[in-house]
């Protein structure tokens, strides 16, 4: 109950904050929110179970494709019927799209999760890396993915009563925040609950966990599926905002950025995931602004590369010097609430 109140308050706060931003900032907020949902899933997976996935961009892409297919299908189905009048015209495709994202990303996540249940660190990382590298090729061989061009997702217009009040970008930011609230709240609950405790137990000592009656394979596969669902919803948010899903947007670079966001924020910390997601969305834009002032040739070379180099340095420094990430910089009181063992096994 406390969790739901907190989630509702944070969501309202975020919705209110969109009024302070101009349309372009709202667009950035929506993108960062989509990234945040995926990073939240990834950070939970890496931080709690110790499974490193380098392929979460593919799971996001799966969610995006699922959203685009389902939303387009329902949009064409309701067109011309009475359902298309009023709110149904945009709400039904939207809901169908989100459901489609959950199904497609969940299925792919289940397949990978079954593999993840049997694999350790470097093997799983390598398998998911191969998945990212294979995505552009897969997009051009699997029918329905439409090759490099990708798939269009239907535009979600601002509903009439709100049209006078807010712009499209702000409306999309609202949708992003609402989807994020529905996706991240369960993650918080899982992290703080028994399932989270089981994940930590498996991570710390598989044999001990097995002796205590926990099945490590099931816990690992379950964690992977959960994380894939979050990534899929993140992909759905990006599909809503950009109205486009293409393999080029979900390449190796983006996949590594998700890992960067999780590491910089602090593995296992959902608040850290939010900081990391904002960082990987805003820093490229800041660098672009800065390099635009430079001579054309140098600016062209730095564009898109300088921020990657910076992120690389940050990841190395954080891992070597401050493994807790930025979340560890918060005051100790805020942290103690997240310490699971302390909650389940109070010290004398």
């Amino acid at each position: 109950m406390r969790l739901l109140t907190r989630a509702a308050l944070l969501t309202l706060l975020a919705l209110g904050a969109t009024f302070l931003l101009d349309p372009y900032r709202n667009y950035q907020l929506a993108t960062a929110t989509g990234t945040f949902v995926a990073v939240a899933g990834l950070t939970l997976l890496v931080g709690l179970t110790g499974q490193l996935s380098l392929g979460h961009a593919v799971l996001m892409a799966a969610g995006g494709y699922g959203y685009a297919w389902a939303a387009t299908w329902v949009a064409t189905a309701v067109e011309g019927t009475t359902l298309a009048d009023g709110a149904g015209g945009w709400l039904l495709p939207l809901l169908a799209g989100v459901a489609g994202a959950v199904v497609v990303a969940g299925l792919l996540g289940l397949l990978l999760g079954l593999a993840a249940a049997r694999l350790r660190g470097p093997y799983l990382a390598g398998l998911t890396l191969a998945l990212v590298i294979a995505l552009p090729a897969a997009a051009s061989t699997i029918p329905g993915l439409n090759g490099e061009q990708g798939v269009r997702a239907p535009f979600v217009p601002v509903p009439d009563p709100l049209a006078l009040l807010i712009a499209t970008e702000q409306w999309h930011a609202w949708l992003a925040i609402l989807v994020a609230a529905c996706a991240v709240t369960p993650l918080v609950a899982v992290r703080a609950g028994r399932a989270g405790l089981r994940m930590r137990a498996v991570h710390d000592d598989e044999t001990a966990a097995r002796l205590a009656g926990v099945d490590p394979g099931r816990v690992k596969a379950g964690a992977f599926v959960l994380s894939a669902l979050a990534a899929g919803l993140g992909g759905a948010v990006l599909a809503i905002v950009t109205q486009q899903v293409s393999p080029g947007a979900y390449g190796l670079g983006f996949s590594l950025l998700l890992v960067v966001a999780a590491v910089v924020g602090g593995l296992g910390s959902l608040g850290g995931a939010a900081i990391g997601a904002v960082l990987v969305t805003l820093l490229p834009w800041v660098v672009d602004q800065a390099t635009a002032a430079l001579p054309a040739d140098l600016g062209h070379r730095l564009q898109g590369n300088l921020e990657i180099a910076l992120f690389g340095v940050v990841v190395i420094v954080v891992t070597l010097l401050r493994p807790g990430g930025l979340a560890r910089l918060l005051p100790a009181k805020a942290r103690s609430a997240t310490s699971l063992p302390a909650k389940f096994f109070p010290t004398q």
Binding site: R118, R120, G126, A130, A134, G312, I316, T319
Partner: protein
Amino acid sequence: MERLVFLLSTGLARGAVLALFALSLVIVYRAARVVNFAQAALAVVPVYVAVAVTAATGSYWLGLACALTAGALLGAVVERGLMRRVPQDNPLAGIIVAIGLVMVLQAGLAIAFGPDHRPVHAPFSQRPLTVGGVALMSPYDLFVLLVAAVVMGALAWLFGRTSLGLRMRAAAFAPETSRLLGVRVPRMVTLGWTLSIATAALAALLLVPTGLGLDPHAADVLFVNAFAAAVIGGLDSPVGALAAGLSVGVLASLVTGYASAAAAPPAVLALLTVVLLVRPHGLFAAREARTA
């Protein structure tokens, strides 16, 4: 039939490069117990050195020698300066630091040399030789096979027949005991990285003329395929890396020839998935792979 022979023979040459790169992954895994995810980026840096030297002097062989030296130096510097300082309590830390290194190196190369593909010329003709009317491999493919065979032979001799190789193997398998017996274990780990990156650089240099050209991501697909080969062969086994590398190369060549170039990465992914699910420790590994 002629097509099959042609695809098999070119696949063998591609497979030799793959096997060489997979071998470099095995060397560093045996020396330091890490899968080096930065291998592709580390291998491309010496290739840039080689291209610069070849452009300045006009000699391919001088470029090759400089690439090997640069690779060896880079391996030592990365191990001493970075990998040694990675916290050991978390097995993922090494992988994450390697990913950071990849981002720094590839972005740095793109900033320094621009993101475009640079054409790299092979020292021999790439036109296939025909024997009895059947197109076989090109002189360059033969050169690649020869170099790969020589390097693998040299590495096998080093690890199997010399005192240094014995010390390196001992340091990898039983660090504490080796230390007690007077082996300088940290030095052996550095040497393993040196050998590994030099081998990887050689593989990348051999690969580049057969592809689109040199760019910071030129070895990415090679790394993924070689990782698949190394895992299939068992990360611990040089013989496994050799056999699996050749097999993956031939498989990729056949899929490219009979289906399409786009179907090759999914085919390798499928093979890797099946092997990992059926025999997670590879087909050739003698004993249980270590945790993490």
